[in-house]
Symmetry: C2
Subunit: 216 residues, 2 copies
Amino acid sequence: MTAPTHLPAPPSDRTRIRRIAENADYHRSTLHAVLDAAYVCQIAFVDDKGTHCIPTACWREGEHLYIHGSNGGRLIKLLAKGTQACVTVTHIDGLVLARSAFNHSMNYRSAMVYGQFEKVNDKASALDTFMRHLAPGREQQARPGSAKELAATTVMRISLEEAACKVRSGGPNDDAEDMNLPVWAGVLPMRSQRMAPVPDALSSAPAPDYVQHWAN
Amino acid sequence: MTAPTHLPAPPSDRTRIRRIAENADYHRSTLHAVLDAAYVCQIAFVDDKGTHCIPTACWREGEHLYIHGSNGGRLIKLLAKGTQACVTVTHIDGLVLARSAFNHSMNYRSAMVYGQFEKVNDKASALDTFMRHLAPGREQQARPGSAKELAATTVMRISLEEAACKVRSGGPNDDAEDMNLPVWAGVLPMRSQRMAPVPDALSSAPAPDYVQHWAN
């Protein structure tokens, strides 16, 4: 049974955060927000050549994280065997400058998901959801995948059942004896900025809403 | 022998990029630039509980990527055993909207490093380099690590010998028969934006150069 989104899910042995445990966050609403803010995740898995960590586009629907790829790609072929995977998403929100070198930190939101990927049968519907994640409405405008294109593509998903987030925000935590040191302390924030769209030179179609309102 | 930075290094069996191979980039200058633009990397490794993928702060010096952590942390303890690791850095530069759903893509710069981490003996010097990466000059201003703080910290590094980058830039690559479809095509760019510094409420020290010039 999936926990209600307003309640923390109990951590598993692998998702219980021990290091700086006060930054652990097991709320499903946090997990959803961290994943929904991402275009890309990193997937760790093992094959006969060793341990790998591959970035790939992702999107969430309900209690699963989705990826897609060419049938022939190493990642897809390995994951389709039921290989255990660990998926990570990380957003950096700022550098935290403390009065002492030791107490420097970063503000961040990260999510980690453990499990096995499974193939998704309704690929066209899942890829429409992906398109909506990138540009809401575009799934009605772009030429849909042909039978051949869909056949060459694999869509996979991993359950969010075994997952955890770690989140830090706010200013530096200095030691009491360092508080009067004459050194600037605070946060240098950063965020993902959306910049002015760059139309293809050969495209004369009008810019839809998600293009006109992209930049922030 | 390290290859000169203007020449591509030959890929290993693990770093030879097969999928969309035209995006592969084996130049050391590209590798350095991708790593230097990062504050955080993801490290994949295996222990007796499975495959993990953990984000952690990183910085480059010469032909090594460095990380640090508490002696007691799981990541540090495992890596100190000589566990094989795969380190990934990913920057997303834009969404590439093609005329067909199938040809949508993203612009990105990613780096992947395979190898084993080794402990660094001169921790104070390495951590000064880390501080310079975050805020050049601050290593002279913040209170340096005490003997106790340094003793509790492990600094590790991985050689950049077995590494590769994958980079995509530019507009959509549509099929010839789709070029006249009446759908907007182009790139929705994004970048990491530095925002106005947030001073600690209890800090009255003047803002140094790296704070005054942070926002862009």
